[in-house]
């Protein structure tokens, strides 16, 4: 067993930390206030080559693994930018996997380079209002027309649609009631977000204000055949492929946010004097922080175990799911405790911990809810009967 990060991985951490130190809490606080996308941060991450981290070298990327990607995301979250920073680059860092794995050579040559320079933002459009967690029930439909498809339907919670030119769009190409297997008959497109055919309506969220999340009303969007990824009807499987790495990355982001919150609370608890001594001298303040730290470190082990398994081509469903579950739980707890340690100031925006707290909460819901993770563990790990 080897728990040591390589020199190169440590260097990546160090350099990402250096990059993020140029975007301090005030920067993110302002984004949280105005909702303006963090363009300069995003471009700095792209310029430093991180958007291409998992893209193969033959397409201009660095061809590294999910372990390195997770280190990058954790470090970004830890830098104080939280989900505003992470989500601004998240899809660039890993989301293109279906295209890399199943896209045509021409599509890869055409698009990957633009993603890694930061020029093309990409959204991931799966969730629908009438399907929710039950993805197989989506009803957005792609009908063949001439040399392509015409797509109509509604999507909800689509992140970064405002900035994106492209989206990985999951649709049905065979209706639900006409397939033998409910996971069949869905297709994945690398579609344009054409303003003529796609209306974007932003949703107002609890946190992460500068990274927009939207309703999409898709009305007769034409997509040429070349932008179909892989085979028609197998889109669901292409999405499923990327689910474990996404969980690993999200878990890493949670660890980063939790650690940042604890660090802030520790600093504050050392300085804030009440009853003639620093509040951090009280075990009532110390223990919750120490416990959160212990839990974060433990969850972090599971994150990198899952990443290691994935990078070594081994099954990692159990580990990726458990990592996501634990990391989201401990991040929420840690940010909440950090706020508690700050007393009234914790509720004030200038102290930043309330921002982390609002943001961490997202990860108990998305990209997959804690309940669905437990469903997975119950059914696939413990062998209990499927509950839904």
């Amino acid at each position: 067993m080897d728990f040591q990060f390589s020199e190169e991985q440590e260097e990546i951490r160090k350099q990402v930390r250096a990059l993020c130190s140029r975007y301090p809490d005030e920067y993110w606080r302002e984004r949280d206030e105005t909702g303006e996308f963090a363009w300069d941060f995003y471009q700095a991450v792209a310029d430093a080559g991180y958007l291409g981290i998992t893209i193969p070298q033959e397409y201009g990327g660095s061809g590294l693994g999910i372990t390195e990607a997770a280190l990058v995301m954790q470090t970004i979250a830890e830098g104080g930018g939280g989900t505003q920073a992470c989500s601004s680059v998240h899809l660039g860092i890993f989301g293109l996997e279906p295209l890399i794995k199943y896209g045509t050579e021409a599509a890869k040559r055409k698009y990957l380079n633009k993603v890694l320079t930061g020029e093309t933002h990409v959204s991931f459009a799966v969730t629908e209002p009438d399907a929710g967690t039950n993805t197989t029930q989506i009803s957005t439909f792609a009908t063949r027309k001439g040399d392509g498809y015409v797509i109509s339907g509604r999507k909800v919670f689509i992140t970064k649609a405002r900035e994106s030119k492209k989206m990985l769009l999951l649709t049905r190409t065979t209706p639900y009631d006409q397939v033998d297997k409910k996971t069949m008959g869905m297709s994945l497109f690398f579609a344009d977000i054409d303003p003529e055919a796609v209306e974007i309506r932003e949703l107002h969220k609890c946190g992460r204000k500068s990274v927009d999340t939207n309703m999409l009303f898709i009305d007769n969007l034409y997509v040429p055949k070349e932008d179909l990824i892989g085979e028609e009807g197998r889109g669901f499987y292409y999405i499923i492929d990327g689910i474990n790495p996404e969980r690993i990355l999200v878990a890493a982001e949670c660890i980063g946010m939790g650690k940042r919150a604890v660090e802030k609370a520790v600093q504050y608890a050392k300085e804030r004097v009440v009853f003639g001594r620093p509040i951090g001298m009280n075990q009532g303040i110390q223990f919750p922080l120490a416990e959160s730290y212990a839990k974060l470190e433990t969850a972090e082990l599971m994150v990198y175990k899952a990443a290691w398994l994935f990078d070594h081509g081994k099954p990692c469903g159990k580990e990726a799911n458990i990592a996501k579950y634990m990391a989201a739980e401990v991040a929420c707890e840690a940010t909440d405790r950090a706020m508690q340690a700050h007393g009234g100031y914790g509720y004030i925006k200038d102290y930043d911990v309330e921002r982390y707290w609002r943001e961490a909460r997202l990860f108990r819901i998305a990209p997959v809810s804690q309940e669905m993770v437990l469903n997975y563990v119950g059914e696939h790990v413990l062998g209990l009967p499927k509950s839904y």
Binding site: E7, E11, I12, Q15
Partner: protein, 251 residues
């Protein structure tokens, strides 16, 4: 143009330094190490010169044990071309350092040596000046701006001195030590980090250089800074005067 940049491994300025109970040094457990921040500025300046001129080479030089490889890799990731590491596990004073560096300069014949104005661990602020003396080269310390002449034969350096700025010039080869405001060092890019893996770090046993490194200085004792105690409020001017007289004993 070939530029030699010196690199020292020092404790991260953000870590809390604790002095050992016996005063013989600092506690090194759990300390993170970084490139001396002024050396990082020197690297950045060298890289900017290289990028401007093209066809230049930036060579890093450090002295220490193999652990220094970590800092050299960082410098290579920033964009330096290769590195020299003089292996030595003995504590060195500034004179020994400058003698070793002088040997490296003889071997490499750079036109310019860029160094940090001081290392943030012992704050000696001597190596640059001593190296200039050993080599009998011109020097400009505390540089806050470096302007290379078009023919690359001379350089003008803006120095921050007490009460103002001073511009000095000299013909190359020479030595410049970097001050804080010279530039803001870059962070390395991911491709930079990956390329660094393949760059050469040449290890040179110190004995091979044949320099006298016998210590001439001995650290007798280290003391942590005196803990600051908070002030107090007094009611009247008379009370203040009394306390200044009886307690603080300043009047």
């Amino acid at each position: 143009m070939k530029i030699l940049v010196t690199v020292k491994r020092v404790p991260d300025p953000e870590t809390t330094i604790r002095v050992k109970p016996d005063g013989s040094g600092i506690v090194t457990d759990n300390i993170k190490y970084v490139i001396n921040p002024f050396d990082e500025i020197a690297i950045e300046e060298a890289l900017r010169i290289k990028e401007k001129l093209g066809g230049s080479e930036v060579v890093l030089a450090s002295i220490g044990t193999k652990v220094v490889t970590e800092q050299l890799r960082t410098g290579l990731a920033m964009g330096a071309d290769r590195a020299l590491l003089v292996l030595c596990d003995q504590e060195l004073d500034s004179l020994a350092v400058s003698r070793i560096l002088a040997k490296l300069v003889e071997r490499e014949s750079p036109q310019l040596v860029l160094m940090g104005k001081q290392a943030i661990d012992d704050d000696a602020n001597q190596a640059g000046q001593m190296l200039a003396a050993v080599l009998d080269w011109p020097q400009a310390t505390f540089a806050s701006q470096v302007q290379l002449a078009a023919d690359q034969a001379s350089v003008q350096v803006l120095r921050e001195v007490d009460g103002g700025l001073e511009t000095i010039g000299f013909s190359l080869p020479g030595i410049i030590t970097a001050d804080l405001r010279l530039n803001e060092p870059r962070y390395a890019s991911l491709p930079g980090i990956m390329k660094a893996r393949k760059k050469e770090i040449k290890e040179i046993p110190v004995a091979e250089l044949g320099v006298d490194i016998t210590p001439r200085l001995k650290i007798h004792k280290m003391d942590p800074p005196v803990k600051k105690i908070g002030g107090k409020k007094v009611e009247t001017v008379q009370q203040l005067l009394d306390l200044l007289h009886t307690e603080a004993k300043v009047i």
